[in-house]
C-alpha cells in the first residue's frame, strides 16, 4: 500500500533554487539521461510502454504506444513537441512544474527524443506565462552549456536541438494538430486525421506530441523502473500524478498522489470545502469534463473510475464549487469561453457554440422557456462528434451534465425571472457567514 501522497515530480519544489541546473543535479538530475543513453532507443520505448504511463494532458493515451507508432528507419527527420500550452479551464499543474523545476521537463525531453530518434524538439509553451518562459529559456541554455543538449550528448553520438517556442494566446493550440499548425507559423486550426502526427506531423514528418507532465514523468521511470512506477496507481491507470484543487476549498493547490485517489480523500487533505459551506458540483479534469456532484466523492480518480461515473479524468483539474455558486452562471461563462476559442474551422462548433451562448444567456436572465433546455440539448447533440477536434465536444460537456444534475436550477431562473443567487457570496472575499 502506497502513501496517500507520493511526491515525485513535485519532490524538489521546496529545495533551494530548484530551477537551476546545480540544484537539479544535486537531487540526482540528468543521471536518468545516462541510463537511457546506455539502454538504447527501443529499450527506452519498451520501458515506457511497460510502465503503463498514460498521457497526462487529458486523453490518457498510452505514452509508450504513441512513441511506438513512429516509423523507424524511414530516413525522415523525427520531431518531439511538448504541449506546454496549458489552457484548459481549471488546469494548473504544468505551469508550476515548469516554474519550479524546468530541468525535469528538459531531461524528459532529451530521453524521449532519443527514444523516438528525434534530433530536434520543441517546447510549445503558452505565451501568457512570462516567468515560466524565462525559466525554460534558462534551463535549456544551462543544459546546452553542460553538454546535455547539442552535439554528441554525453559522448553518446546522439545530437539534439531544443527550441522553446512561446505561443500567442489561443486555447485551441492545446489541441495537438492545431499546435502543429501554430508551430509552423499558421493560424492554429486542427488538421483532419488520418494521417496522424506519428506519420505526418510537424513539416509532414513523424512527430510525437506529449503533455508536459507526461514527458516530465519519463526520467523517474528510467531511474526507478516500470515496476516501481506501477506500484503506484491502479491496474490500468499507473503511477503518480498531479491533482490540482481549486475553488471553494480551504487549501487549494497541487497534490501529487497515486492515480485512483478519491475527491473525498483529497478534500480531507485540503481541509474540506470552505468553512460553513458544502460541495455542490466539481469538475474532475477541467471544464471540458462533465461536472460531477457530492454523489461522486468516492469515485476513484483514475481514467476508468471517472469514465464509469460518466465523466473523464482529463487533466485532474478539480474545480470545487460550493452551494453559493449558480450553476447556470458557471456554465454560461464556460460556454462563452468555448465560443471565443472556437477556431472557426468547423461549422457545428463555430455556429453551435454561438447559439449555445445566446440560449444560455437568455436562460440566465430568466427569459425564455423550458423548451430552451431541449434546444440546448439538441444543439449539443448536433455539435458532439461532428468536428475535427474535441473543442466542440468539450463545450457540450458542462451543458449536458449540468442539465442532468441541476435541471431544477435552470427552471428556477425562469420561475424567479432571473438568477436566484447572490454572486457576492461566492467570492473569496465574501463577508463571513454570507449565504446564497
Amino acid at each position: 500500500m502506497t502513501d496517500m501522497l507520493t511526491p515525485v515530480l513535485s519532490d524538489n519544489w521546496d529545495t533551494e533554487r530548484p530551477w537551476t541546473l546545480e540544484s537539479y543535479e544535486q537531487t540526482g538530475g540528468y543521471a536518468a539521461l545516462d541510463t537511457a543513453l546506455g539502454m538504447g532507443q527501443d529499450a527506452v520505448i519498451d520501458l515506457v510502454k511497460e510502465s503503463g504511463l498514460r498521457g497526462r494532458g487529458g486523453a490518457g493515451f498510452p505514452t509508450g504506444m504513441k512513441w511506438g507508432f513512429i516509423p523507424q528507419g524511414d530516413g525522415k527527420p523525427h520531431y518531439l513537441v511538448v504541449n506546454a500550452d496549458e489552457s484548459e479551464p481549471g488546469t494548473c499543474k504544468d505551469i508550476p512544474l515548469m516554474m519550479a523545476s524546468p530541468h525535469t521537463l528538459v531531461e524528459g525531453v532529451i530521453i524521449s527524443s532519443y527514444a523516438i530518434r528525434a534530433n530536434h524538439a520543441f517546447i510549445y509553451v503558452r505565451g501568457e506565462v512570462l516567468h515560466v518562459v524565462r525559466r525554460l529559456q534558462r534551463a535549456v541554455q544551462e543544459a546546452y552549456l553542460a553538454g546535455h543538449l547539442g552535439q554528441n550528448i554525453h559522448g553518446s553520438g546522439y545530437d539534439l536541438e531544443l527550441t522553446v517556442h512561446a505561443g500567442a494566446g489561443a486555447y485551441i493550440c492545446g489541441e495537438e494538430t492545431a499546435l502543429l499548425d501554430s508551430l509552423e507559423g499558421r493560424r492554429g486550426q486542427p488538421r483532419l486525421r488520418p494521417p496522424f502526427p506519428a506519420v505526418a506531423g510537424l513539416y509532414a514528418a513523424p512527430t510525437v506530441i506529449n503533455n508536459v507532465e507526461s514527458i516530465a514523468s519519463v526520467p523517474c521511470i528510467v531511474r526507478n523502473g516500470a515496476e516501481w512506477f506501477g506500484s503506484m496507481g491502479t491496474e490500468k491507470s499507473k503511477g503518480m500524478t498531479l491533482y490540482s484543487l481549486s475553488g471553494h476549498v480551504k487549501r487549494p493547490g497541487q497534490y501529487e498522489a497515486p492515480l485512483g485517489i478519491t475527491l473525498r480523500q483529497l478534500l480531507d487533505l485540503a481541509g474540506g470545502v470552505r468553512e460553513g459551506h458544502e460541495l455542490k458540483f466539481w469538475t474532475p479534469g477541467g471544464s471540458s469534463t462533465p461536472i460531477l456532484t457530492a454523489e461522486h466523492l468516492d469515485v476513484p480518480l483514475d481514467y476508468e473510475g471517472v469514465g464509469a461515473a460518466g465523466s473523464m479524468l482529463g487533466t485532474k483539474a478539480l474545480q470545487i464549487f460550493d452551494e453559493t455558486t449558480c450553476v447556470v452562471r458557471a456554465v454560461l461563462r464556460w460556454t462563452e469561453f468555448y465560443k471565443h476559442e472556437s477556431c472557426g474551422k468547423c461549422t457545428p462548433c463555430r455556429e453551435g457554440t454561438w447559439w449555445l451562448v445566446q440560449t444560455l444567456a437568455r436562460l440566465e436572465q430568466g427569459k425564455g422557456s423550458e423548451q430552451d433546455l431541449e434546444n440546448l440539448l439538441d444543439t449539443c447533440d448536433n455539435i458532439l462528434g461532428r468536428s475535427f477536434c474535441a473543442l466542440g465536444d468539450g463545450a457540450t460537456s458542462p451543458i449536458t451534465s449540468s442539465i442532468q444534475h441541476f435541471r431544477d436550477e435552470y427552471v428556477r431562473h425562469l420561475t424567479e425571472g432571473g438568477c436566484p443567487f447572490d454572486h457576492a457570496a461566492s467570492t473569496l472575499f465574501a463577508p463571513a457567514g454570507a449565504t446564497a
Binding site: T6, G38, M39, D42, S246, A270
Partner: protein, 280 residues
Amino acid sequence: MTLNHDPALDAGSGRLPEETLRELRAIGARYPQARSALLPMLHLVQSVEGRVTSRGIEACADILGISAAEVSGVATFYTMYKRRPVGDYHVGVCTNTLCAVMGGDEIFERLKGHLDVGNDETTDDGKVTLEHLECNAACDYAPVMMVNWEFMDNMTPQSATQLVDDLRAGTEVRSTRGARICTWREAERVLAGFPDDRADEGPAAGPASLVGLGIARERGWKAPEGRTAAGTTSGTPGATAAAEQADTSRAESETKVEQSPTDTVGGKGDETSTGEGKKR
C-alpha cells in the same frame, strides 16, 4: 479613454530599424523551416512597435517570403497580438468561470470604474491597458490577475486597485510568483526568444503549489523507494519487471563507467547496446 481611430492606418512609415530586421531574421534561423518563426517574430514586432503595425507585418512577410495577408491572418488569430497601442502595463483579470466566481468579476468591474476604461482600453496616461482574460493556469491562486503576463495571485478589489495605482505611479511592483514587473514591450521581447536574464528572480513556487508537498513532508509520506545505486527496487518484481530490472541494472552499471568523462566517447547510444539486446 477609447482609441476610436484605427492606428494601423497611420502606422509609422518606412522600414523597421535595421537591428530589428536582423533580429527578425535571426529568429527564423532557429527553426528547420523559417515560417515557424512567425509567432515569435510578431512578438518582437510588438516589443519594438508597441503593437503589430503594418510595417511590422510587411517586414515579416518580406523575410518569410509570404504575403502580408498571410501574416495578417495569423496576427489576427491570436489574442496576444494587438493592433491598437498597448500601455506600459497590460493588466489582465481572469474572468473564466472559477476566477469569476471567486471574485474576478468584482475585480474587473472595480478596475473598469477605477481606471475609467472598458475592456481592451488604455488609460489616458498610456500606462495601463485593461483586459479580461481566459484561464491562465493558476486556478489554485484564484482570483488571478496578470501584469505583462506575470502572475498576481489571490487578488481582491482592494489589492487590484492598489496594484494599478502603483503601476501608474511608477512604484516598483513584484509578481507574487515571478520577477519585478517590466514593461509590456520588454516582456514581448522575452517571448520572442531574447532572454532578459532574470530567471533567478522570484520564488520557485507559491504556497498553493507546495501545499500537497508540505502535507507529505509533515506526515512522512513518500513515493515508494526508488532504485538504489545497486539497482534494486522495493517490492517483489513480477517476471517481466524482473527482466526489465535486470536489464536496466545492466544499463546502470554501464552508466557508472560512463560517468567518468574520459570514458564517454564511443557511442553508448548506438543500436547495439543493451536495450536492443534484450529483445533477442
